[in-house]
Structures are given as C-alpha cells and as structure tokens.
C-alpha cells in the first residue's frame, strides 16, 4: 500500500515496527515504531507518557515528510 500511494504521487511516511519488512516492501520514509501490537503507544506507561511517545513519533513522521530524500531512509530520531 505504501508503495502504491507513493507511486500515485503522494509523499508517505511508514510508521512500523518491523523495519526490515518495510525496507523490503519498498517504503521510502520509514519511522521505527514501539511494538507490533501497539506501534504508537506503550501500555506499560501512564496515559500521559504514552501520549508523549505517540506525539514524538508523529512529530518525527511530519519531519520525515518535510525532508528531501533520494533513497529509502529510516528516520531514527
């Protein structure tokens, strides 16, 4: 899906836990996430801390979308 959205001309960022699969599939802008059943959350934290984790991942995603790249890029921070 990521690749087809990109092919259609929309910049897309893939937030996912298993980065090697995302690279294999062909995503270009990749944000490593927290864990498979909760990529943008962490149930072991308080609701507030969890929302902060999520906020950071979304901020990183928006930053990735605003970054010019020429090849597949994993945005670690």
């Amino acid at each position: 899906m990521v690749k087809e959205i990109e092919r259609a001309g929309l910049p897309v960022v893939h937030v996912c836990t298993i980065v090697p699969i995302s690279l294999t599939v062909g995503a270009n802008r990749i944000i490593p996430a927290v864990a498979i059943p909760h990529p943008l959350g962490d149930p072991s934290k308080t609701a507030e801390e969890e929302k902060q984790i999520r906020r950071r991942l979304v901020e990183r995603s928006l930053k990735a979308l605003q970054t010019e790249i020429t090849d597949q890029t994993v945005f670690n921070d």
Partner: protein, 348 residues
Amino acid sequence: MSYRIVHYINQFYAGIGGEEKADIRPEIREGVVGPGMALKGALGSEATVVATVICGDSYFASNMEQASAEILEMMKQYKPDAVVAGPAFNAGRYGTACGAICEAVMKNLGIPAVSGMYPENPGVEMYKKSFYIVETPDSAVGMRKAIPAMAKLVLKLLKGETLGTPAEEGYIERGIRKNKFYDKLAAERAVDMFVAKLQGKPFVTEYPMPVFDRVPPNPAVKDMKNATIALVTSGGICPKGNPDHIEASSASKFGEYDITDVKDLTCDDFCTAHGGYDATYADQDADRVLPVDVLRDMEKEGVFKKLYNKFYSTVGNGTAVASAKKFGAEIARKLIADGVTAVILTST
C-alpha cells in the same frame, strides 16, 4: 550414522498459544515438537530431529539480533549437522524469523539450513539469496507437501549431493548462476527460443531477469502549515463491530471511515479487525495504532492545516500483494482527488 537436525518453530506451532503468546522468549526442547513429528517421519532413518527451538513471533521480530544470537547458542549445544526452520507459509513474522535464523546458522555454524515459505512471504525477498527456501502454499493446509520437500532438500545438502534447478527441486530461486555445457551453441538456443516465442509456443529462459519494483521518493512537503494530512493503516482499525466485515486475515477489502468530529479513538467507538497480532492494546485505545488524538492536537496548534476527515484501513495479515497494491492505488486516488498533501501510514 544419522545426521543431527535442530528444528525451529514459533509459539503457535509449538501449541503454546496464538498472538497472546507471540512475545515469548526462545526456549529449546529435546526431540520433536508439533510439525517436527512430520519432519521426523519424512527424514526417516537418515537424520534425527535432536531438538526444537521455539520462539514467539513478536519477540523475534522486535529483537532480531539478540534473539538470533540466543537461538544460535541454544542450537550449538545440540551439535546440529543442519537446521530446518518452519515451514512458515505466508506468516510474515514467522517467515522473517525462519530466514534470519537460517542465514545466521549458515554464516556462523557453517552448516546447511532449509526453510519453507509461500513466495509472497516477506521472508522470501529478504533471505532467498542466503539459503534454500522450499516453495509452499500460503497456509498450513500445505503442511503435508511442504515437510517432505524440506526433508528431501536438507538430506541432499547434508550428503553433499548436487542440487538441480529450483523448478526440479522445488526451492525458490536464489539468483545463483551456474555454468553448464550444451551440445547446441548459445546462438542456436537463443534463435530456437525466439522462434518458439514468435510461434506462441512455450520456452524456458536460461537466465530470468530479476524484477525490481522500487518507487522513487516524492519531493518533501514544503509548506506543512497549509498541508492536509491523511491517515491510512494496515493495522485493521475500524469502528466498533467492524461494519464492513474486513477479514481478520487475507483481507479482500479496505474501509473508509469518517472522523470529522472525532478527537480521540476511544474503546467505545473503535477497535481492530486484525487477526495477526494481540488485539488487547488496540481495542483498549486505537490511537496506539492510528494516532488521531495527537494529530487533532497538532491540527489545533496549527502545525499543519487539516487532518483529512476520513481514514482508510485494512488488515495486513497474509493479505495478497496484489490486493494490497489495489487498495493502495484506490486509496491514493481518493486522497489526491480530495486535495490531501501527504500520508502517514501505520503498520502493526
């Protein structure tokens, strides 16, 4: 003498549990477990399954390097002559684990390793160059065919027998070229193929071309303050009750859901339809998969102009690549028509 084989399987095939147990750490047990019984039968007297390593799919996928190292150490204690992993069919995390382990076994222990997967399993694309993967159907229905083929291949490798072509042996092409002598000159063979092609007759190429499907990245978003951001997910998030009946695996459709006045995905209104991961956390708070709450905050703060008023969702669990391609293209068409600037796509 009988060769010593260590078998690798996941928590599901070990009978430990499904997604709720997918985070178990690796353990090793003496003898066969689960599909190891069929493997033992197929190997006959020539090889023995001396031990079985079991690991949760999510644990492996989330800690690939550490889990591989732990598993190698466990395997070493049983002095294997070869390792068999899976078959993983079309299970993505399981296939990735089988691939990573077999690759590590070949590299670090210097012994043969064999697995079995469906060609669309992401583990195939990642590891097919490193070792032999037997082609299997997409589900465990194919177990009875997969296990004998894997046993046959590993025995051949152990005995140092020359392997035939992928089609002859039933493994997935690894991109290895071998020199071979023919009575006919290359030019003659090429003309024969060309003539067959012109006549619409079947012919087999001697050198299949690899297929690369890469899409170059689109230019970055220049004006985020005026951008409309859309959310898409393969994590199966949908309104409670899954009104479109998106399948828990091998999804045949995607859903389009309005979030015009939704500020937060609460457990009263949203859940996941996904059957390939433990749904507990997504059902409690779907923002953990699809970050609507945070995006609403940022929209209010003016970081970007607008969160698109619909999100698109499907279940990425054994879903055919052809279906995913179709969903992606359709979703993109709708988003572009509505003036969306960029997309955040989340996967579990």
